[in-house]
């Protein structure tokens, strides 16, 4: 008699198997936490911009930018401020949009955000390890912690399965 029997056998490729196809999956806590942390990162960025704006005159005085032997006037200084602000706001808006898309359960924004987090963490680690740059609460600890927490949340199996819930069929 030939009965069907299920063997206990696990090939190594099984680790790289696709996640389950489950389009009706509930949004896991990891995905919610991940997008919330990305938004917190945006809030931290807004505070950075405000702090920068308040310190801008001092920063300009300190550096005393000289181009072609002439000190830059107040017009150029305020232009620089506007430029930095525009770039900063656009970057933060894009980041907030990515947070929203992650919450909606798309995969590519999750991968993009994790990619940026890996680059940012690697740069911080390099500076800390090689150049002995201090990482304290007063300097970059909070943003680094947020980056790592974002990466932890979004790389978790729940978050990955949710982002890939419509794949594989």
């Amino acid at each position: 008699m030939t009965e069907n029997k299920r063997p206990a056998y696990e090939p190594a490729a099984r680790l790289l198997e696709r996640t389950h196809y489950d389009p009706h999956m509930h949004r896991p806590v990891a995905t919610m936490a991940g997008s919330a942390l990305v938004l917190l990162r945006v809030v931290a960025g807004v505070f950075h911009l405000i702090a920068l704006a308040l310190q801008w005159p001092e920063l300009v005085d300190a550096s005393d930018t000289v181009v072609d032997g002439e000190s830059l006037g107040p017009a150029a200084t305020s232009l620089g401020l506007v430029l930095v602000f525009v770039i900063g706001i656009v970057a933060l808006a894009v980041e907030a949009l990515l947070a929203l898309l992650i919450y909606r359960g798309l995969n590519w924004p999750r991968v993009v955000v994790m990619g940026f987090a890996v680059v940012s963490i690697s740069i911080s680690f390099g500076a800390w390890w090689v150049q002995d740059q201090e990482i304290t609460i007063n300097t970059t600890f909070v943003t680094l912690a947020l980056d790592i927490l974002v990466l932890l949340a979004l790389s978790s199996r729940d978050a990955a399965a949710y982002a890939r819930r419509s794949e594989g069929r």
């Binding site: 069907n4 680790l15 198997e17 990482i135 912690a145 790592i148």
Partner: protein
């Protein structure tokens, strides 16, 4: 869709593994290593900032217990703990969990009916709402009979359902048993076919897990008492339920569960037959959905 595209999707489907999943694994492991660094940084920082360091130390513990150690366990147990049946459920971090000490034959409906008649309460699934209810009921000291149980995994799947019995006046103690439907055509070691496997344990108190340092329920080391309690309540409530026993099925599983508690057992595996129990009558169609 063009032919080239068709061909490409077909080839992608034929490939057993996925590049996206490989990338996920890279992020998974990178995050694990980065979190170790973060734990180190917050540890050294907690010495530097005086009294605030106390708060930082608590944060350090939370980070270690709920993010770093689970991630490291998840990575390592994926490598060294086999996925096939070894008589133990696994925690969501991949660690060995409660011992499988009960088998059943019958449909889900019949098990639900049998347990309900034996005064067991079905546990709610873990959701934000039920988690909030646990906190609210703990603070207001009201009892929450359907409190969810933590997920344990067998056959790579979370339990299909779980039942519990509260111990009067003590929120730290409760009887609970988790059920998994066996895969089709799967046999127990020794060649016996059963429909369901279950793991019943008794929570004795709240404590710290040895492996992850998380706050968790400690279970009674003598898992046989709970196993016999489940069978006694079921057979007392419905005489049509019969029990056969596989002697010394798991003798040799003298070990620890996922929380680091030691486990003692005589190794017997009772097989509970509920096939003669009449399941819930059809007027409640929502219940049949749980059977899957």
């Amino acid at each position: 869709m063009s032919e080239v595209e068709d061909d490409r999707t077909a080839r992608r489907r034929a490939r057993r593994y996925s590049r996206g999943v490989a990338l996920d694994w890279f992020f998974f492991i990178f995050a694990g290593l980065a979190s170790v660094w973060l734990a180190y940084l917050s540890f050294t920082e907690s010495f530097r900032i005086g009294w605030w360091g106390l708060l930082a130390a608590i944060l350090f513990w939370a980070l270690l217990a709920y993010l770093v150690l689970p991630r490291l366990h998840r990575i390592l147990t994926t490598i060294y703990v086999p996925e096939y049946f070894i008589g133990r459920a696994r925690t969501s971090d991949g660690l060995l969990g409660d011992p499988v000490n009960l088998a059943l034959n019958g449909e889900a409906e019949q098990i639900h009916t049998a347990l309900r008649e034996a005064h067991w309460t079905k546990a709610d699934p873990v959701t934000l709402a039920s988690s909030w209810r646990i906190i609210a009921s703990t603070l207001s000291r009201r009892s929450y009979h359907e409190a969810p149980v933590s997920p344990l995994f067998l056959f790579g799947r979370q339990q299909d359902f779980a039942y519990q019995q509260e111990v009067d006046g003590n929120p730290a103690q409760r009887h609970h048993v988790r059920f998994w439907r066996c895969p089709d055509e799967w046999m127990l070691p020794g060649g016996i076919r059963v429909d369901w496997l279950a793991a019943g344990t008794f929570d004795t108190s709240v404590g710290l897990s040895l492996f992850t340092l998380q706050v968790t329920h400690k279970i009674d080391a003598d898992t046989d008492i709970e196993r016999n309690h489940i069978i006694a309540t079921m057979t007392a409530a419905d005489p049509r339920i019969t029990v056969t026993v596989v002697r010394d099925f798991s003798t040799g599983y003298h070990a620890r569960n996922g929380g680091g508690d030691s486990i003692r057992t005589d190794g017997d595996l009772p097989i509970v037959d509920v096939r003669r129990v009449v399941g819930m009558s059809p007027p409640l169609p929502t219940h049949s959905a749980e059977a899957t």
